[in-house]
């Protein structure tokens, strides 16, 4: 099982400071909800996709697009129907829904969805997980929270592997083949497998706790850090740059 979201590359986005990148993605996600013109929205989305294509390659961009395509189609096709008789639902509270109508709404929502998708995807495709964690730490994510995520990533392949072995061994023990079984029976058969996988995972908890403490976790002493983000030399410039860019886009494209 692959748990890697990183796409190797050397482009500008890879050299962009992770702290600034993280902040930019968050601001960008907010920006997409601002009242901007449709043209403006799509210009920004277009730029984002273009920057992405330059950095991570066309195939990655296409793959991402394919993964959201069903959802997009659904949105665009059902939107007009929704707007005609869905007045009462609209009051749930999204401000864009109040002013927009029919097709325009669908297109706007689709654009926003594409934009958010690419912003998030590009962040994790151009930054290794370790640096995302370091960036989050720079924004005062507690050490323990970061450690939990790192440890979870270490244990995902281990648990996935044991899980597939347990499922295999369970199938080897079957007295009859499971062809043509009803879904209920199949779900019932799943209980022993799941139980066994969970017991296997739970047994590793005390061992992990032991190993953490034997490696010095829990000590009052301040930890030093082997890796940091000092190889990125311009965190402030980069942050400032992306903020300016977003403000400029806002001024250019806002609805008067």
């Amino acid at each position: 099982m692959t748990i890697n979201t990183f796409v190797a590359g050397k482009g500008l986005l890879y050299r962009f400071d992770p702290r600034a990148k993280l902040l930019t993605v968050m601001l960008l996600c907010i920006w997409f909800f601002l009242p901007v013109s449709l043209v403006g929205l799509y210009t920004v989305v277009g730029l984002l996709v273009l920057v992405g294509a330059i950095n991570t390659g066309f195939s990655h961009i296409a793959k991402t697009f394919l993964s959201i395509l069903p959802m997009l189609l659904f949105m665009v096709l059902f939107m007009p129907f929704n707007v005609r008789d869905g007045e009462s639902l609209i009051t749930i509270g999204s401000f864009t829904l109040i002013t927009a109508e029919g097709l325009e709404q669908a297109v706007r929502l689709a654009g926003r969805f594409i934009g958010i998708t690419y912003a998030c995807t590009l962040l994790f495709a151009t930054t290794v997980m370790q640096e995302v964690m370091l960036a989050l730490r720079a924004f005062h994510l507690p050490y323990k929270a970061g450690l939990v995520v790192t440890l979870a990533f270490t244990y995902i392949p281990f648990i996935a592997e044991s899980f597939s072995q347990i499922a295999e061994s369970h199938s080897l023990r079957e007295a009859e083949s499971d062809q043509g079984k009803r879904i209920i029976q199949r779900l019932k058969d799943l209980v022993p497998t799941l139980t066994s996988a969970l017991v296997f995972a739970l047994r590793s908890i005390p061992n992990l706790a032991m190993s953490l403490e034997l490696r010095g976790f829990g000590s009052e002493q301040k930890r030093s850090s082997f890796k940091d983000l000092s190889s990125y030399r311009h965190p402030y410039t980069h942050t400032l740059l992306s903020c300016i860019m977003l403000v400029v886009f806002w001024v250019l494209f806002r609805v008067q």
Partner: protein, 492 residues
């Protein structure tokens, strides 16, 4: 009682000047907490052990007799994370262990576990080494130089960024040894540290123990040739206590504890299958993709000719990573193959059909045990057969439990390892497959226990393929042997 008293009589011991104690254990008793009705048996009673600073100690103990528990107690994590009742005093370099937290032992005492997987906490080899150094609060330059040195020393430089999943068993051991070297603690506890290592690294570890200025305690369940002349004292965990004896006596007592002196359980067995079945592989070629990013080339398993008959006991020997498991997975129908054939009594079978003929017992029994009690476990697959009556199921399960020495009401998760292994075999015995593959049965079992399990499993005349990397063990089974190297299988 100090085992060190009789050192002068031990021919394994080298002469040395007395030094203060690194570890001083007195009147230690320990019993694991029991979560079920039945009380656990105590592991240690009134045990005492002194380890002098700078000395090298070997503690031999049969499997499942508390060797690893001892290491965990000495590191201060047991009973903290492995609940139980502990009595007695332990002093580490003069300080009472009870007043210390495990992390305070970081620069004092390092532990290399026999199961490397459980000690991995980081996403890459490099970070694995960095983690404890960060805890020590070292500066970046110091960390870098220690990490580089340790990685180089254990030949791990090119694996820097690999994750634990991509490493082989031997590489994992080396990473843990490199971590230990980087921490540079005064006292090392090495639990079965020579296992899984190739000769080159065994020699290196041996030299480190011999030449280094560390106090070292090696725990082992099998006496290896490498151990000769390496230690200042050789001790034995016997009847819940640590004893010291002259070498010859100690080793013979040890093999007695491992039941090596008992008659081979297979010797007296006459195996007469009711009907003779045959499994034949010809010109089998299969490809396996390596998960590791390091070896891009796919790995080929080639089997020109292989046969297995009812009642036969065939061994397959080969080093780690030679394709033993890949071949087993094909033989029991879990994986497919590119060309060639596998025939059962002359007919080719699909993967699904094959897995009803060939039972595969994984090395790790916990992956094949599912249910809360032994009784549930044994009757599970029988209940799913529509042709059996309740009475019949009960009779078969009881007879099977009797044969493998199991108690029906026990909870598998809290049973000892040999019993879990026996339960795994019992489950397959009831499935009554014509053939069984036993993967590394002898790991963490005494030869005698392993051979007894084989005897019971082939009671009904099943043909057995025994996979092992231990040629000593293979020798005890006097029948045909196949060997596999770099994916190619041939008969010896």
């Amino acid at each position: 009682m100090g085992p060190s008293q009789s050192d002068s009589t031990s021919s394994l011991a080298k002469s040395r000047v007395p030094m203060p104690n690194a570890f001083c254990i007195e009147h230690l008793s320990f019993t694991y907490h029991s979560y079920v009705q039945k009380q656990c048996e105590s592991l240690f009673e009134n045990l005492s052990l002194q380890i002098e600073e700078g000395s090298k100690t070997l503690l031999l103990a049969p499997f499942d007799k508390g060797k690893t528990t001892m290491a965990k107690i000495m590191c201060g994590v047991c009973p903290k994370y492995f609940p139980g009742t502990l009595e007695g005093t332990i002093r580490v370099f003069g300080t009472d262990l009870a007043t210390l937290e495990p992390w305070q032992l970081l620069s004092i005492c390092s532990y290399v576990s026999q199961n490397p997987q459980e000690q991995f906490i980081a996403n890459s080899v490099e970070e694995e080494l960095a983690f404890p150094l960060e805890s020590l609060g070292l500066g970046r330059e110091e960390m870098r130089s220690r990490i580089d040195r340790a990685l180089q020393h254990w030949g791990l430089d090119r694996l820097r960024t690999s994750s634990e999943q991509e490493l082989s068993g031997g590489e994992r051991k080396r990473v843990l040894l490199a971590v230990t070297e980087a921490i540079d603690a005064r006292f090392w506890i090495l639990d079965e540290a020579f296992d899984d290592l190739d000769q080159r690294w065994r020699d290196q570890l041996k030299e480190m123990i011999d030449k280094g200025n560390k106090t070292v305690l090696v725990l082992a369940s099998r006496y290896l040739a490498e151990f000769d002349g390496l230690f200042d004292q050789v001790l034995l965990l016997d009847d819940k206590k640590v004893v010291s004896l002259p070498q010859q006596q100690l080793l013979s007592r040890f093999s007695q504890l491992c039941q090596d002196d008992l008659a081979n359980p297979l010797a007296s067995q006459v195996c007469t299958p009711p009907e003779v079945r045959q499994l034949v592989c010809t010109d089998l070629v299969a490809e396996r993709r390596r998960m590791s990013t390091l070896e891009e080339a796919s790995f080929k398993v080639q089997v020109p000719h292989f046969t297995l008959q009812s009642g036969e006991l065939v061994t397959l020997v080969g080093p780690n990573g030679s394709g033993k498991s890949s071949f087993s997975r094909i033989l029991c129908g879990l994986d497919g193959y590119l060309s060639g054939s596998i025939k059962f009594d002359g007919t080719s079978l699909s993967g699904k059909e094959l897995s009803k003929k060939v039972g595969y017992l994984f090395q790790n029994p916990d992956l094949q045990i599912f249910l809360p009690t032994v009784n549930d476990e044994l009757s599970w697959s029988l209940r799913r057969r529509r042709d059996l009556k309740q009475e019949e199921i009960r009779r078969r399960v009881a007879a099977c439990a009797d044969l493998f020495g199991l108690s029906l009401s026990d909870t598998p998760a809290t049973m000892s390892y040999p019993l879990r292994k026996a339960l795994q075999a019992a489950v397959y015995y009831l499935l009554d497959r014509p053939f069984y593959i036993l993967d590394e049965l002898d790991s963490a079992l005494t030869y005698h226990t392993a051979l007894s399990i084989i005897r019971d499993l082939r009671q009904n005349g099943a043909g057995i393929l025994l996979i092992t990397h231990d040629r000593q063990f293979a020798k005890r089974v006097q029948q045909r042997t196949y060997s596999i190297e770099k994916g190619r299988l041939c008969e010896l």
